[in-house]
Amino acid sequence: MKNKDFIQKIQQTVSTNGERTAELVEMTTSIIAKILSEGDSLAIKGFGTFEVKKKEERVSVNPATGNRWMIPPKLVPGFKPGTTMKDKLKTYSSHEY
């Protein structure tokens, strides 16, 4: 599902026009991005948690040249599904197979 389809679906559920929906979607994502960029986390009940994780520094080797590089630590946004979501995932897999 592309961004367009997603906006269309929201539009069907919530009665707003297309442009406004796209605007709101953008706003929502930017709010989440802002929360994450400040190092905070956002927990959505029934869905999951958006949070920032720190990846530690490491040494990586380029297999082609054998050069060793020191990769600095970095902060990455991450998502952890909530409990209801996890339960759904369990039933989902048993459904399919």
């Binding site: 997603f6 706003m27 709010i31 994450l36 190092g39 020191m70 970095k74 902060l75």
Partner: protein, 441 residues
């Protein structure tokens, strides 16, 4: 930082920014996540522009062991949700650490230069390499031995006056090395007087146990060689300062190996008096090593260095003329960036929050710790390493400083002890790890 926002906060912010009713905002946000969820469970990939991609990923079945019973169990095939954030979000989140960049470690340099070996500037590269390694280890040495970077710089640049912040107990040793160094320079100058035919003679390439290589020099490449060398040395200087503790450890290992090698060379010299041609190469090595030793003030008996100098007989000195020039030139070149840093350090006015005149002396009292002193004077505990470095002779064990020890606290240096600069903290931490590992051994 680390505040946990909830759905309600998102709704509040959205209604505020989007200028819509809270009820509508709630409805919208709930629909937003519901649709993602629904689409995921229909096996779709959800892509939201400016945010990221949600995906369901199949996890293959795998065997595992029940931790409490030790029984083997099979984890069934299942699905998990992955969220791949878009690059813009990633960059936004990583802003606090975005100034850090990958650094190539020394292990790579060797391979690089080995590749260069095949090019037609072979001999230059080889000499360059070996000297480069010495220099880099020299740099590392300086980097780690934060004790008094000034004296070694002073000696290198030869024009600088001994730093006033020098501790008295170190001054003696400095004098020694200074005289040693000057004698050395004289020796070298006399060699420099020998005209360019010195270059035309085959230079016995420094013999490293790992890399045996002898090449013929090409005088026409001289200029290019120096330019390349200057670039390499200056870049080395930069990365050496920021290279991590791993690099330091490795360098240290190299250094110790080098020192051992040196001492064996000197011992051999005692017996054979450097007559054989093979010894020439060794003596070149010894020369350069001794030169660098005297520069970086490795805690080695001064006698050894003198022996090394005296033992070089005229024949070999002629041959070594170019090699010596190499060493000298390199010493000069390396001195350039250092002088600038020293100047920088001197000119920068240090904002002193506590209003204390530095360098100051503190007597250790009950309950005092190096880390607490660092926190008090520099603003971060991790900078204790610099206090320790300045008082290394007084403190055998930084974890247990005897009461009444008079400790000198060097002036805070904005390029090193800036508590707001993550790079400073990073360097100090690397240093801390090194000191700790040294103490353990």
């Amino acid at each position: 930082m680390n505040t946990k926002f909830l759905l309600q906060d998102l709704i509040d912010q959205l209604s505020e920014q989007g200028n819509i009713k809270k009820k509508d905002a709630e409805e919208f946000v709930k629909a937003f996540f519901k649709i993602i969820e629904d689409a995921l469970f229909q096996g779709e990939i959800v892509k939201i522009n400016g945010f990221g991609i949600f995906k369901l990923v199949k996890v293959e079945p795998r065997k595992s062991v029940n931790v409490s019973t030790g029984q083997e169990i099979e984890i069934k095939e299942h699905f998990k949700i992955t969220f791949t954030p878009e690059q813009t979000i990633k960059e936004l989140v990583n802003i606090p650490l975005s100034h850090l960049e990958p650094v190539q470690l020394d292990g790579g340099t060797e391979k690089d230069s080995l590749k260069d070996d095949q090019s037609d500037t072979e001999e230059n590269v080889v000499i360059e390499q070996s000297v480069e390694e010495y220099i880099s280890s020299d740099l590392i040495e300086e980097h780690t031995e934060y004790i008094d970077p000034q004296p070694s710089r002073t000696i290198k640049s030869k024009s600088m006056t001994p730093n006033e912040r020098e501790t008295p107990n170190r001054k003696d040793s400095e004098k020694n090395s200074n005289t040693d160094n000057s004698r050395y320079t004289d020796n070298k100058r006399s060699n420099e007087n020998i005209p360019s035919n010195g270059i035309k003679k085959p230079i016995p390439a420094p013999q490293r146990p790992s890399r045996p290589s002898y090449q013929k020099p090409k005088p026409s490449m001289g200029n290019v060689f120096w330019i390349i060398l200057l670039v390499i040395v200056s870049s080395l200087g930069i990365w050496a300062f920021w290279s991590n503790r791993e690099a330091m450890k490795e360098k240290q290992r190299k250094m110790t190996a080098l020192e051992q090698f040196d001492s064996t060379v000197y011992e051999e010299g005692d017996e054979k008096d450097f007559d054989v041609t093979v010894d020439d190469s060794l003596s070149v090595e010894a020369e350069i090593a001794a030169k660098i030793d005297s520069i970086s003030k490795v805690d080695k008996p001064v006698k050894h260095k003198e022996d090394g100098n005296v033992k070089v007989n005229p024949k070999s000195t002629v041959k070594m003329g170019t090699a010596k020039q190499t060493a000298k030139q390199i010493a000069k070149q390396t001195a350039i960036p250092k002088v600038s840093t020293t100047v920088k350090r001197k000119t920068v006015v240090i904002p002193n929050t506590t209003g204390v005149a530095f360098p100051l002396t503190v007597t250790m009292e009950k309950g005092d710790r190096l880390t607490m002193l660092a926190l008090k004077y520099y603003g971060n505990k991790v900078f204790w390493v610099y206090i320790y470095a300045a008082n290394r002779k007084l403190i055998p064990n930084p974890n247990n400083v005897p009461l009444g020890t008079k400790i000198r606290i060097p002036s805070p240096d904005p390029s090193r002890t800036d508590p707001n600069n993550p790079e400073c903290i990073f360097t100090a931490k690397a240093l801390q790890t090194k000191i700790m590992s040294m103490l353990e051994n």
